[in-house]
C-alpha cells in the first residue's frame, strides 16, 4: 500500500510529478550563473541598475503569471501586493529596527495576509468581475495610504531614507550596483525558480491548470476550488510582496507613485508581450520590455508613444506573446 | 438550388473537409449522416458562410456564394440552425425570435412567421417572456428552430435537431421538419442516426473523415 500523502504516480510521466525537474533546474541555474558573471563583466552601472529592476520585475511578473496565466484568476491587484510588501518591509526596518533582509522576508508574511484579505471577496466573484474588483482595490489604495499617514506610512510623500541592505555586516548602498545586481539576481532567480519549478510543477500547479481549463470538472475530481484559489492569491502575493521589499530597500524610498498608471501599464505590457501561462514567456517579456524601454529612451518625449505602438503591434502580431512564437515553431518540424 | 463542388475547409492547419460535394434540389429534404467529428457541422457551416472555405465552389440559388458570409446568405434565404442552438441567453424567447427576422427580407413577414412558430410550438407562446438561459434542452431547441423559421428561409440547414432531446420530442421535432418540408421548405439535415429519419428524406449523403459520398436510393433502405 502506498503511503497516505503520495499516490503511486509512476505510471504516467509528467512534469507535475517531477519529470525533467532536475535537468530543467540545472539549465535554469546555469543561466543564472551566466547572468551573474555577465553582471561582473558588464561594467556600466546604469546597465546594472536596469538589470536590477528586471530581476525585481521578474518576481512580480512570475507571480502574476502564476495567478493570471496559470490559475486563470483575473487578479489585477498585483501592485497592491507589491506596495504592501514595499511599505511593510520599509516600515519594519524603519520603525521596528529589523535588519532589511529580515524585513524583506517578513514582507512575505504581510503579502500572505493581504493575499487572503483580497482573495476572500474576490472568490465570491466570477470571471471579469474579479478583474474589475481587484483593479478597483488598486485604485482605492492611494487614498488609503494617505490615511495610513496616521500609522507612519508617510502619506503622499511616502517613506524616504529606508535603510540599505545589510549583508553580513556590510551596508549595501543603492549606488553599489554590482552587489545589488547579485543580490537581486539571486533573490529574483530563487523566487522565479520556486514559482515555476516548485509551485507550478507540483500539485498546486496542476490544480491551477485544472481550475483554469475546466473548473467544474476539476471540482468533480476532488480539487478544492476554494482552497487552491486562495492559495493562488496567497502564493502570488507572498512573492510579489518580497519583490516590493527588495524594491524598497534598493531605492530606499517608497511612495504611492508605485501605484501610478505607468508602473501598472508596464507590468501588463510585460505579461502581454511575454505571453501568459507559458514559462519562460513572461520572464522574457520582462527583459524585452525593460530593455526595449531603455532603447527608446533616446527618443525622450516620444518614448511612451513609441512604446504604445510597440505594444499594439506586438499584441496584434503575437496574440500569445513571445512564448506563442516558440510554440508554433516547435510544433511544425 | 444548392450545389457544392469539391470544397475544402480547415481549422488552422487541420484539414476537415476533403473535396466535399453535394447537391440539394428545390423542395427536397436531404440528410447528411456520419460519425461524430467527421465534419458534418463543418460542412453545414461552410455552406452557410460561417466557416471559410479554402477551395471549391458553392452555388446557391444560381449565384456563386463560395466566399459569401452568413448575413448575406441569410438575406438570400439560406439559414443555419446550429446543433448547439446558439440562442441569446440573456434575451427572452420573443426577442430571440424577433432577431430571427432581423434582416429586411424577413422583417416583412415577421408577424406571419411569428404566428406560424407559435402555432407550431404553443409552449413557446406561453414562455415568450422567459430568458433563454433558463430553458430546458427541448425548449431551447424549439426556439432555435423557430428562430431559423423567422428568417424566412428558402433552404434551412439544420444541424442535429435531435441532439439531447427526449425520444418523444425527437420525434415531434423531426415530424415538424418533415411537415415544413412538405409545405415547401427545402431542408438540409444532419443527423447521427438514420433510423429516426425513416420515410421522410429524399436523399442521403454519408460523410466519412471529411469525404462526402451520396448513398443511392437503393442502398438507402439498407443504411436505414
Amino acid at each position: 500500500m502506498s503511503d497516505i500523502s503520495k499516490p503511486d504516480t509512476s505510471m504516467i510521466a509528467s512534469v507535475f510529478t517531477g519529470k525533467g525537474l532536475v535537468r530543467d533546474s540545472l539549465v535554469f541555474w546555469a543561466v543564472i550563473a551566466g547572468l551573474a558573471m555577465l553582471g561582473a563583466v558588464l561594467g556600466d552601472s546604469y546597465v546594472r541598475h536596469i538589470f536590477i529592476l528586471v530581476f525585481i520585475w521578474c518576481i512580480v511578473i512570475a507571480s502574476w503569471d502564476l495567478i493570471l496565466g496559470y490559475a486563470g484568476i483575473f487578479n489585477y491587484a498585483q501592485l497592491v501586493f507589491f506596495t504592501f510588501g514595499a511599505y511593510g518591509s520599509a516600515m519594519l526596518s524603519i520603525y521596528a529596527g529589523f535588519t532589511p533582509l529580515l524585513s524583506i522576508l517578513s514582507a512575505a508574511a504581510i503579502g500572505a495576509v493581504i493575499g487572503v484579505v483580497i482573495a476572500i471577496p474576490s472568490l465570491r466573484l466570477k470571471g471579469e468581475y474579479v478583474a474589475l474588483f481587484t483593479f478597483a482595490v488598486h485604485l482605492a489604495l492611494p487614498p488609503l495610504i494617505q490615511q495610513g499617514k496616521a500609522i507612519g506610512m508617510g502619506g503622499n510623500t511616502g517613506l524616504l531614507g529606508i535603510p540599505w541592505l545589510n549583508l553580513f555586516g556590510f551596508q549595501v548602498s543603492s549606488i553599489d550596483k554590482l552587489t545589488w545586481y547579485w543580490v537581486s539576481l539571486f533573490l529574483g532567480a530563487l523566487c522565479v525558480w520556486l514559482i515555476y519549478f516548485i509551485v507550478l510543477r507540483g500539485r498546486m500547479g496542476l490544480a491551477f491548470v485544472a481550475m483554469r481549463d475546466a473548473d467544474t470538472f476539476a471540482q468533480a475530481i476532488g480539487v478544492n476550488e476554494y482552497k487552491y484559489k486562495l492559495l493562488a492569491f496567497v502564493v502570488s502575493a507572498v512573492f510579489t510582496a518580497v519583490a516590493g521589499g527588495i524594491y524598497a530597500h534598493y531605492t530606499s524610498v517608497v511612495t504611492p507613485k508605485i501605484l501610478g498608471t505607468e508602473f501598472f501599464l508596464m507590468a501588463m505590457v510585460m505579461l502581454a508581450i511575454g505571453g501568459m501561462g507559458r514559462f519562460p514567456g513572461a520572464i522574457l517579456g520582462v527583459f524585452l520590455v525593460v530593455i526595449g524601454n531603455e532603447l527608446l529612451r533616446s527618443f525622450d518625449d516620444y518614448r511612451l508613444l513609441l512604446l504604445g505602438v510597440v505594444v499594439v503591434v506586438t499584441v496584434i502580431c503575437l496574440p500569445r506573446g513571445i512564448a506563442g512564437l516558440f510554440e508554433r515553431q516547435s510544433k511544425q518540424p | 438550388m444548392l450545389e457544392v463542388s469539391n470544397i475544402n475547409a480547415f481549422y488552422s492547419d487541420f484539414h476537415v473537409l476533403h473535396d466535399a460535394s453535394l447537391k440539394v434540389n428545390k423542395g427536397e429534404l436531404v440528410a447528411v449522416v456520419g460519425a461524430n467529428g467527421h465534419g458534418k457541422s463543418t460542412l453545414l457551416k461552410a455552406i452557410c458562410g460561417l466557416t471559410p472555405v479554402k477551395s471549391g465552389k458553392i452555388r446557391f440559388a444560381d449565384h456563386d456564394t463560395t466566399s459569401r458570409r452568413a448575413p448575406h446568405l441569410v438575406s438570400q434565404g439560406l439559414v443555419y440552425v446550429a446543433e448547439d442552438r446558439r440562442l441569446f441567453p440573456d434575451m427572452t424567447v420573443l426577442e430571440n425570435l424577433q432577431l430571427g427576422a432581423y434582416l429586411a427580407q424577413a422583417r416583412a413577414q415577421e408577424k406571419r412567421n411569428l404566428d406560424h412558430v407559435f402555432s407550431l410550438y404553443p409552449r413557446l407562446a406561453e414562455r415568450r417572456h422567459q430568458l433563454c438561459r433558463s430553458l430546458s434542452g427541448g425548449e431551447a431547441q424549439m426556439v432555435a428552430l423557430g428562430r431559423g423559421l423567422m428568417s424566412n428561409p428558402t433552404l434551412l440547414a439544420i444541424d442535429e435537431p435531435s441532439l439531447g432531446l427526449a425520444p418523444n420530442l425527437t420525434e415531434t421535432m423531426l415530424q415538424t421538419v418533415s411537415q415544413l418540408n412538405r409545405d415547401g421548405l427545402t431542408v438540409l439535415l444532419v443527423e447521427q442516426s438514420l433510423a429516426l429519419l425513416k420515410g421522410m428524406i429524399d436523399r442521403v449523403y454519408t460523410i466519412e473523415e471529411g469525404t462526402v459520398s451520396e448513398t443511392d436510393t437503393d442502398n438507402m433502405q439498407e443504411v436505414l
Binding site: 475546466a214 467544474t216 475530481i221 476532488g222 | 420525434e171
Partner: protein, 242 residues
Amino acid sequence: MTQMSLTNVTMQFGPFRALTDLSFGIERGEILGVAGPNGAGKSTLMNVCTGGLQATRGSVVFNGQDITGFKRHSRCGLGIAQTFQIPTLLSSVTVGENLLAGQIFGHEVRGAAMDIPLRDILYLTQLEDQLTLPASQADLLTRKRIMLGAALATGPEIIFMDEPLGGLNAQEIVEFLQVIRHVREELGITIVMVEHKTRALAEIADRILIINFGAFVMLDTPGVVLNDDHVVEIYLGKKHDA
C-alpha cells in the same frame, strides 16, 4: 443495500421548482438509468447528488452520512464521482495528466486506501497508447474515455454520468456501453446515468428512474418502465420495441 438515498428533495430556483419532493434510493453495485422529458430535472437531480447544487429542502444521504450541504470536491472525497454531458477536460495538458489529476486530487480528498490502480483504469478505458497526446486533440469518444478515466482515478464507489452516450454513433455507443459495463463488473462501482437513448438504457440498466416536472414518476426494471403507458405518453412517444 442502499448506498445513496434521497428523501423529499426539493430544488428551488427562485419561484421555479426544478425538483419536487423527490425520494428514492440507489442500490450498491447497480446501474441505474435516469430518464424523463426535457426539462424534467434530470441534470438538476445529478447535480443535487454530486454537489453541483445543494438541495433547497430534503436530504441526500450517502453511506449513512447526510451530505446534503456538501460541496462537489468533498463528495468526491467520499467516493462520489461524476462525468459531464459535454466533456470539458484539462485541455492544456496531456491525456495522461488528466488521469493523473484525478488520481492526485482524488487521493488528496479520499486518502490512500481508495486508489484504483492506474493500470486497471488504463486497461478499462484503453487509453494506454494516448497518454502523451495533448488532451485538446482528442476526439469525442476519447474525451469521454478520459473524463471517465479521471473520474475513476479518484477511486469512487459511485459514479454519476450525464448523457454519456450523447453525440456517439451506433458503433461508438456499443463500445462505450461495454466500458461502462466493465466499470461496474470489475471495479464494483455503482453507476447512475442520465440518458435519452432508451434502447441503450434498456440494454444496460438494472433499473430506470423516470421523472417528470421534477417529480418522481416511477422506478423499476427497464422492461416495466419502458412499457408503461404513462411513460410512453409523457416520454417515449411510442412503445419501445424491446
